[in-house]
Symmetry: C2
Subunit: 803 residues, 2 copies
């Protein structure tokens, strides 16, 4: 077990004492005890489930202070020292003597696990200082010891007696009674009329807030805009999935420039706002179990309100879905404007009784992953007032980078055939209410047809439809600080989305932080090796409650989970280190070699067409296709791809950013594509693709409140390789994704393309491989056409950023 | 979607009206409305999240009464009728028009889904009667509509105003505020001193009970004895796993009879009880999140208390683990005795302040699966007073049938190398408290050595150790009614355990009910197709609250999930139908044929030894071993097993109970074993081995209370076969599991053995297969010895019960 706590901040003894007092852990009487007696009392208070002194003593008596002496006996004959303190401390953290650490040397385990400790323990001050840090230290169940005590009822005496949030070590504590949370629904009136009924679209908003916010406490909001959270039309979506088995077609060469396809918002006058009949502070609707994000659950116990809204075209709201359009951004922003006091909401959809967010301190953050994080990003690019920060996880920054690549239709990994129109249908939960649906059936049908038309699967080009869904265009408007979280193995929302956002934000005067993990399309707030929830707590306490906790400096700018050693998170100044080397690798038959060597002569060839049976089989067995594509030897696909590998690395290297390939390529038809994969070759145990569940419901987000499973990436069985990155390009999009280039059969053309960005630790002894192929079974169209490709070796290369 | 509701009971109009009134759904004013207006009001009340009439009307307006008319418009111009009623009803149940049913014929979907409906709907009484049944009908999310309303806050007005539980349609309703549940710990003093410290073992008990039980309401208890719930020593257990790669050895022939190995309890005088210093009603210890069973969670909202106890040798309790011994039974029973007022408990382990279960109505049920269900069964066999019923799921009835079979060590499926001593270590959570563990380290070590010795892996025989752990011996003492639940595909706790219990209970004057499902070792209370929670609610309302709901007659005696058609549960009078046929099938080369045909000549042979590489490979790839073992053609194991198959079945058949094999067998050494599998051959889509998750957290067990994932078995991809049953026998245990028979090399002996009981629907066109082999890679010892077996065909056969 190795812990990485970035939100445990160093603080002064004075602050520690004050905070121990504020959480009622230490009182004046205790300060008059000897260091040893003080220590015993601190330990006894670490059992909030024990309601009498006898019960506390019974719990404390079960702990060993050294190899043979229970704590309760130890304090009668000896003084507290470092060894005894941490022996007991580790047991409180869930470590078991002999199994997890040695009672003769607890510091060994502490250092190995990367836990905080104190070298000196003789005075009362030493004991209190070390105890403070112990409370901030993570237990084996992946939360701080203080969180564990909270889950056993430590903060119960605070419940109902709270006038302000309580911060300990810079982070808000769960002193709010989650049994008393208020749940209410309001309908925010947007400026939109996407269902064209002549009325402004009303948007259903679900609010969960501490009871205390009804009696004077103004609370900030974590707001998640989730188009999924009112239900999804999975069957309808499934039926709409596009056929991938279509031929790539020749595109008529064009001179299209960006100006010709640029999206420009049409100004339109919205319908008049509804007149207000009365004002009220009392909502008329509540709700049952919301579709929650556990980070929000964690914060709800700590004095933050959580707000969920699904947006236009979802159940109980007006409007229709539009898949990432400016209207969806406007809908997400409308909720913020209401929270910030500049927009109207009603208690129901008919009576026009206005209700304000009178309980809100007007500091708002947005959270969520995937489409949710995307809408957070989208909202931030409007510069809307009140939105202080977003924590965008696995977010799309440009929808073209989600459904397209290099002038090709490229499906998100795992969702072949999906496109913007399919997702529109899936999220259109308004369909679930039959009478409401009937009203907008026709307009929705038309809207859907427009999306199918706009997404233009026939060319795969970037066009006005996609430009309207490119948030990167509006990055300069961002005023909110941004924390970005993305999986380096996320082939659903591919890493280019976060890379482009990260790079672009360098020119915007906001704070931006980046966390790159080794997961696919997942949340990481329940991972044992990282104190993600604590980090977000530190950050949001700073941003939304203005706590002076130095979060901006404490949190690393770029944090990357290592792909070789489990439970390892390293800090960096930037995604691409300023001191990086750009290395150009050239192609020789089967080899990737230094550009200092003599260039190779001739060309290497492969054909795309497979025997029909293989073509059918691979479509249904993508893993086997991948295995065969990557196998260096005896692969049934050896004529269907080119494979170039470096010699064994003579030292560990890190590949950063976007690998770039330049190819001189010819094909036998007037259309064609190239796909690339960058591979780490070397038999090794690597992190599993999915985290292992360590403890079901191991994480407690408060006292008898919501739970989460504790997970961690562990080393899986040995594998011979791992894909680092991939990329695709239509040979007719050599200059841009919107302009069609000519393509004569059997003529060589130079293409240049960037693969998906990465941050990859390539260990010594491994080989780096480049696979060149065409049809990507799981992502591109596939027609098994009789296409052959030729690569001129001397004019082709791969460029990488190495450190 | 097909629903099977066994707990929806038919009742009179009068009762319906009274109960609708009791749950405050219908008041006098409503009864004066027209049938149509009444209907509208009933629908509007089905949105408890809507807190104003306007909000209710908004929700109701989203429902369609016919293809084009919203409910709210419909009632203005037409009267309620069957079609409109069920159109709206189905929408409330979560069915979507056009997708899940047709608005022009709602009854079609209702009948197809096996939902309740009423043919006539013209009077107010008709409307109320149909509405009552609609409230009892399951939604697409797997609970009754009333449960759904409860999860949206329907019963919130009852919270804090409850003096008695509320029953609707015979089942307790969630009117208790789960936010106010009381959690307390007591320490029950047993008569045991398993850690031999001269003091009676104290047993930690965790209690969760409604707040109302502190102010007069006496509540019954669902009690789960779970040795796992205070933590487990997984690493220690893993280290102790026995080596399976050992040779089967010759056992010296013996004349042992049962009397010689029978377990007889030694009478021992327990230490004196602790003297009581004072009596109190106030507990001194609480707890955080317990390790819960969701059936108990469901009941907690409904006026039942839940009690958990892990027993001797677990964290915070005294004693040591003994793996299923009478001492563990006594520990489980001690808690019942305390609940029933005949035993002392203390508030902590030191002060001897006695606390009684003063809030309990002395009606106790036990629940739980696996070891938990086992302890429920064990407790029932003592006839302890107060224990009114047990719901034992996947329970062991004799530990020999868990770790042994036919004179062989046979591991539970999925746990090769596990044995009683390993499980003892795993559950000995007292080890987690270092100072407490130190006190009993030596005594536990000795106890563990005794268990290793007693389980006797060298012979695999039934002995005194196993006899002490055979609950079937004490079945006649049972006084509690028993509901048994078991997976027909449970190869961990194999079906013999429940079969033997079921058969033996026929001679005991208690009610026993049996539910056989198609799962492995799972709970089934979250399965959409069966109203298991409702059934248990009906049963426990009857048994523990004495509600006159005819549960005994309403619930089927034997309920079996069909293995061919999903979502199908059939009722039977018994596991083996009285009118069954016993069919004897004889062996011809590769064939199973009717015994009416001429017997085959000669013998069929196979060898056990595999090429070393195959032997190594199969151990690590049990699925491939299984596939090769079962493959009729071109199997690499074709010389390592015999396979006999019937012709295609000319009609569907059901195989019930224990298939019995008689074999005339010879082997080339003085030791040997036979294993058997009964196989359904026929390529078909079969139920998946694990249920599919339909809706994460889809089941709500109250209002803002605990949740469960909704699951269901769905048809998986086509498979060529499925194992129906299996069995094992040591050739030296031809007469009993305790006596060693002689075994001369190369001599033929007749063995007769029963395979694991089954209840299997063998479809027309399929073939029944019998595999005869020796080493079972995943279950028996395996040494790859040079053993050869010969089966005399004419003297061997298979007997089955068919209907």
């Amino acid at each position: 077990m190795r812990y990485n706590q970035f939100a445990h901040i160093k603080t002064s003894l004075k602050t520690k004492l004050a905070e121990l007092n504020q959480i009622h852990y230490v009182d004046q009487a205790m300060l008059h005890e000897t260091p040893t007696k003080l220590w015993l009392q601190l330990v006894e208070k670490a059992f909030p489930q024990a309601l009498s002194l006898a019960a506390q003593k019974q719990k404390a008596a079960a702990l060993l202070a050294d190899e043979t002496t229970p704590l309760t006996d130890y304090v009668k004959k000896a003084d507290v020292n470092v060894q005894a303190f941490y022996n007991v401390g580790l047991q409180l953290l869930g470590f078991e003597p002999e199994k997890d650490f040695s009672l003769s040397d607890p510091l060994e385990a502490i250092k190995k696990s990367n836990l905080s400790y104190q070298e000196q323990l003789s005075s009362k001050e030493d004991v209190l200082s070390a105890w403070y840090d112990l409370l901030c230290t993570h237990t084996t169940s992946g939360q701080t010891l203080l969180d564990k005590l909270a889950s056993l009822g430590y903060f119960k005496p605070f419940f109902g007696n709270v006038s302000d949030p309580l911060f300990f070590n810079g982070k808000a504590q769960p002193i709010f009674d989650t049994n008393k949370l208020i749940r209410e629904v309001v309908y925010v009136e947007s400026d939109l009329d996407t269902d064209k009924d002549g009325q402004r679209d009303l948007l259903k908003v679900e609010i969960i807030r501490p009871e205390e916010s009804s009696s004077g406490l103004k609370v900030p909001v974590v707001y998640t805009a989730s188009p999924y959270n009112q239900g999804t039309n999975d069957t309808d979506g499934q039926k709409m999935m596009h056929n991938m088995n279509t031929t790539l077609t020749h595109k008529k060469p064009s001179d299209t420039n960006y100006a010709a396809i640029e999206y420009r918002a049409k100004s339109s006058v919205p319908p008049a706002p509804r007149s207000i009949t009365r004002e009220t502070t009392i909502a008329e609707e509540s709700f049952g179990r919301e579709f929650s994000y556990t980070l929000n659950d964690y914060l709800l116990a700590r004095g933050f309100a959580a707000v969920y809204s699904a947006g236009i075209g979802t159940l109980d709201s007006d409007g229709v879905r539009t898949c990432g359009s400016p209207a969806e951004t406007a809908a997400a922003v409308a909720v913020i404007e209401w929270l910030n006091g500049t927009r109207i909401a009603f208690t129901n959809k008919t009576d026009r009784a206005a209700i304000s967010a009178w309980w809100c301190n007007k500091n708002i953050a947005m959270t969520g992953k995937s489409y949710l994080g995307t809408l957070a990003t989208a909202a931030a690019t409007t510069g809307v007032a009140g939105l202080k920060t977003i924590i965008s996880e696995a977010a799309i920054s440009s929808w073209y980078d989600y459904y397209r690549d290099g002038g090709l239709v490229v499906a998100p990994g795992g969702f072949p055939g999906e496109d913007a129109d399919v997702l529109t249908m899936e999220c259109f939960s308004r369909k679930k209410q039959a009478a409401d649906y009937l009203k907008v059936k026709d307009i929705f049908k038309k809207q859907l047809a427009d999306i199918t038309d706009g997404q233009d699967r026939s060319t795969g080009n970037y066009n006005t439809f996609w430009d309207a869904r490119n948030y990167l265009k509006n990055i300069s408007k961002i005023k909110a600080d941004i924390i970005m979280v993305h999986g380096l193995n996320d082939w659903n929302v591919k890493p280019r989305n976060v890379f482009n956002l990260w790079q672009a934000l360098k020119h915007v005067p906001v704070t931006s932080k980046l966390i790159l993990h080794q997961g696919q399309h997942i949340y990481i707030n329940n991972m044992r090796s990282l104190d993600f929830n604590d980090m977000m707590n530190l950050w949001l306490s700073f941003k939304l409650y203005n706590v002076d906790n130095h979060a901006k400096d404490e949190l690393p700018d770029v944090l990357v989970q290592d792909n070789v050693t489990p439970e390892t998170w390293n800090s960096f100044a930037d995604w691409i280190a300023p001191q990086h080397n750009v290395e150009k690798l050239c192609l020789r038959p089967h080899e990737l070699v230094s550009s200092k060597l003599e260039p190779a002569e001739g060309a290497a060839n492969f054909q795309d067409k497979l025997p029909s049976a293989d073509f059918e089989y691979y479509q249904k067995h993508l893993n086997i296709w991948m295995k065969d594509l990557l196998s260096p030897d005896h692969s049934p696909l050896k004529h269907n791809r080119l494979l170039f590998r470096t010699a064994a690395m003579d030292e560990d290297k890190i590949i950063q950013g976007e690998p770039e390939v330049t190819m001189s390529v010819a094909t036998n038809k007037n259309h064609g594509m190239l796909s690339f994969m960058l591979i780490d070759y070397g038999t090794a145990r690597r992190l599993g693709s999915v985290p292992t569940t360590l403890e079901r419901k191991g994480l407690n987000y408060g006292f008898q409140w919501r739970e989460d499973d504790l997970v961690e990436f562990s080393l899986a069985k040995k594998t011979p390789w791992k894909m680092i990155s991939k990329g695709h390009i239509n040979l007719q999009n050599r200059h841009s994704n919107w302009k069609n280039d000519e393509l004569q059969p059997n003529s060589f053309y130079t293409i240049n393309t960037k693969l998906q960005p990465t941050f990859y630790h390539l260990p010594k002894g491994h080989h780096l491989g480049l696979i060149i192929y065409a049809t990507d079974m799981g992502m591109t169209v596939r027609a098994n056409e009789d296409l052959a490709y030729s690569i001129k070796l001397a004019d082709s290369c791969l460029k990488l950023n190495f450190i």
